[in-house]
């Protein structure tokens, strides 16, 4: 799928240093409306750092961010949220001492001077039902929920604001089989509503299933853009930086063993 027009999000030369360490160097990235871009890379490639910059958690050391064609700065999370960038963090950033409804509406409660708990609870149920979520009670504190349930709450929260761009940091990492499928469906639904989606994942199957483009980061730099029809071998080489690596060696070992088994049979 090719998307036209100005990208929702466009990054130019984004760098981020933590002391002497360059977590990101000269990152270029475009996300269009109605497009799912997957951000893949090995551990320490800088994926989460990039997401945190876009969410306003970290400030970039250098580079330009354009949102819907206008250059913007993201000094804090509130700025990112008000532009329409919603983020689901890997460390889920929920308040364990608050209940599900309070967490979903945190920072944007209905009628601030006389909280409308009933309306918030109804809206929370609607959102969670759209996600086919299985959460028994919204009036229990988040501390009592499982990892997958918390993920669902976090995603529900990101959708509340009707954002233009959703950042998902490992959305399926903590989820079971059915819930993973639900989240992938959800990502497609979000894309079909015309939102841009940037998702980080280690799971190549998930990435291939929903992504329109796959952007590879390696050691904090761009290392190629692929499409879902790219072979696993190509992707893994880009991620690890060489044709010869632990993954390919392993694959080679298995194929020789399979073929030798085939000969003896």
């Amino acid at each position: 799928m090719t998307a036209q027009g100005t990208p929702v999000l466009s990054l130019h030369g984004i760098s981020k240093h933590f002391g002497a360490v360059s977590a990101l160097t000269d990152i270029e990235l475009d996300v269009h409306a109605g497009e799912v871009v997957a951000l893949v890379g090995d551990n320490g490639a800088g994926k989460s750092t990039l997401v945190k910059i876009l969410a306003g958690v970290h400030a970039p050391s250098a580079g330009r961010i354009a949102f819907q064609g206008r250059e913007v700065t993201l000094p804090d999370p509130a700025a990112a949220l008000s532009l329409g960038i919603a983020t689901v963090f890997q460390d889920l950033a929920l308040c364990e001492n608050l209940d599900v409804v309070a967490n979903i509406f945190l920072g944007r409660e209905l009628s601030p001077y006389a909280l409308d708990e009933v309306a918030m609870e109804i809206k929370a149920w609607t959102l969670l039902q759209e996600l086919s979520a299985r959460i028994p009670s919204l009036r229990e504190t988040v501390a009592s929920l499982s990892g997958g349930q918390r993920q669902t709450v976090a995603i529900a929260r990101s959708l509340l604001l009707e954002p233009k761009l959703i950042l998902l940091d490992e959305p399926t990492a903590a989820l079971g089989v059915a819930q993973t499928a639900e989240v992938l469906d959800l990502i497609e639904r979000v894309r079909d509503r015309g939102l841009g989606v940037l998702m980080i994942s280690h799971n190549m199957e998930d990435v291939r299933a929903v992504a329109d483009r796959i952007v590879v980061l390696r050691l904090g730099r761009n290392n190629g853009i692929f499409y879902p029809d790219a072979s696993n071998h190509e992707l893994v080489s880009a991620i690890t930086g060489a044709g010869e690596n632990a993954v390919s060696r392993r694959a080679a070992r298995r194929s020789t063993r399979d073929s030798s088994l085939g000969e003896t049979a």
Binding site: A55, V57, D76, P77, A78, L81, S82, T87, F89, A93, L94, C95, E96, N97, L98, A102, L106, G107, R108, E109, P112, Y113, A114, L115, E117, V118, E121, I122, W125, R134, I135, P136, S137, L138, R139, E140, T141, A143, S144, L145, R157
Partner: protein
């Protein structure tokens, strides 16, 4: 019951808790998992009252209770501020000094300078707000731990108080003035007190009934009318009985009503406004609150300022109670009493957990112990030891309950 159709009761894993029996079971379940609420403090209060009553029958007499509640009102207001600051997981150790400083400022401005009393009160409260702002600046700008900055503030503000009072060391507030009357002899007319009690019960019922009706319309589970009526009746009866008992003594002190009004106000702010939600979120998980777009610094600032403002109001009330502004005001055990009251009442030292009513319950416990020991004519050395032990027990209960909540998934 048709429960299966309710939106929030649809999941088969939910244990259904319908009716009065169900409500009691759910309550026991909560307590067992460490969500103790006000239970320990109420049990503690009953034990304390029975012990002191058996040692000295004056203890539960109406006149002693009236005095006890009078004294509770001043430090109780300071303790409300402690609730605010503990909710965000910080502490203010200087509330005693701030209250003493506020009373000194009131005395100097009103009695020595002749400024109208209400302006002097406003000035004292504003001075408290400025001190709170300064703590918030130190905390937000330099990341200075609040227990250090406020410990420094304890000394510095005490110095200011002594400086203001100067050579004389004490300023007498004029007897017969409205402020001193409020602190010593103003009581709510009996009929009005009964009416207020009834109105409180009615308001409670009306609010919960409206919520229940809206929930039922939205196809959510709602409490049954029986429970709502029952609870409203119990609370009204308790309030009216208290009013009846106090009226057999001197009556319901107006200052107590001021304190209770502040408690209700703070409770509303903490539970029913966006600000209160943000305060809890910051106390529970600061980073999560920040990522949700909450201006965390502003929340900390509001908590520090509110704490110092409540301390200043408490200082004004206690100077009215004593009819003087002296060097001793706000010193001694005021600090610890105010902090202990909030913790004993069930506000957690770890942040994110607590309510305004904990200040009310906790200060009554502290004052009951203090009054009982005074009646027994025990020395202040023993009083300090016993109050210290009670505070230690309260913190232990808080820590144990927290651990239990974590293991029961209720942290």
């Amino acid at each position: 019951m048709g429960d299966a159709k309710l939106v929030d009761r649809a999941d088969e894993r939910l244990k259904s808790a319908a009716g009065i029996g169900g409500a009691i079971l759910a309550f026991l379940d909560r307590v067992r998992s460490g969500d103790l609420g006000s239970l320990p403090v109420i049990i503690g209060l009953i034990i304390i009252c029975s012990v002191f009553q058996s040692l000295n029958t004056v203890f539960l007499s109406p006149s002693n209770i009236v005095n006890l509640l009078y004294d509770s009102s001043t430090i109780g207001v300071i303790s409300l501020g402690i609730v605010c600051i503990l909710m965000v997981g910080e502490i203010d150790l200087s509330v005693g000094s701030v209250s003493g400083f506020a009373s000194a400022l009131l005395g100097v401005l009103w009695v020595n300078t002749g400024i109208p009393v209400f302006l002097a009160i406003i000035a004292a409260i504003l001075a408290g707000a400025v001190i709170g702002l300064f703590y918030a600046f130190l905390f937000n700008r330099f990341g200075m731990p609040s227990f250090v900055s406020t410990l420094a503030g304890l000394l510095a503000v005490l110095g200011l108080q002594l400086y203001l009072l100067g050579e004389s060391g004490s300023i007498n507030l004029p007897y017969g003035s409205p402020l001193v009357n409020l602190g010593q002899s103003l009581f709510v007319p009996p009929a009005l007190a009964y009416l207020l009690g009834a109105l409180a019960g009615l308001a409670l019922f009306w609010r919960s009934w409206r919520t229940a009706a809206r929930r039922r319309n939205a196809n959510l589970s709602a409490q049954s009318l029986h429970i709502l009526v029952g609870r409203a009746i119990v609370i009204t009866v308790v309030l009216e009985a208290a009013v009846f008992y106090l009226n057999r003594g001197r009556g319901v002190p107006l200052m107590l009503v001021v304190f209770l009004a502040l408690v209700v106000l703070l409770d509303y702010a903490l539970t029913r406004t966006q600000w209160g939600r943000a305060v809890k979120a910051v106390g529970g998980n600061r980073e999560a609150a920040r990522r949700a777009g909450i201006n965390v610094r502003r929340i900390y600032t509001s908590a520090f300022v509110l704490c110092a403002v409540f301390a200043a109001i408490g200082g004004v009330l206690s100077s009215a109670r004593l009819a003087s502004a002296s060097q001793q005001a706000g010193t001694g055990d005021v600090n610890l009493d105010a902090i202990a009251a909030a913790v004993i009442g069930g506000t957690s030292l770890f942040g994110g957990r607590g309510n305004a009513y904990s200040a009310l319950l906790g200060i009554i416990v502290i004052q009951a112990i203090s009054s009982g020991l005074t009646l027994l004519d025990l020395s202040s050395s023993l009083r300090y030891m016993i109050t210290g032990a009670v505070l230690a027990i309260a913190v232990i209960v808080d820590s144990l309950a927290r651990r239990s909540r974590v293991s029961h998934g209720r942290a």
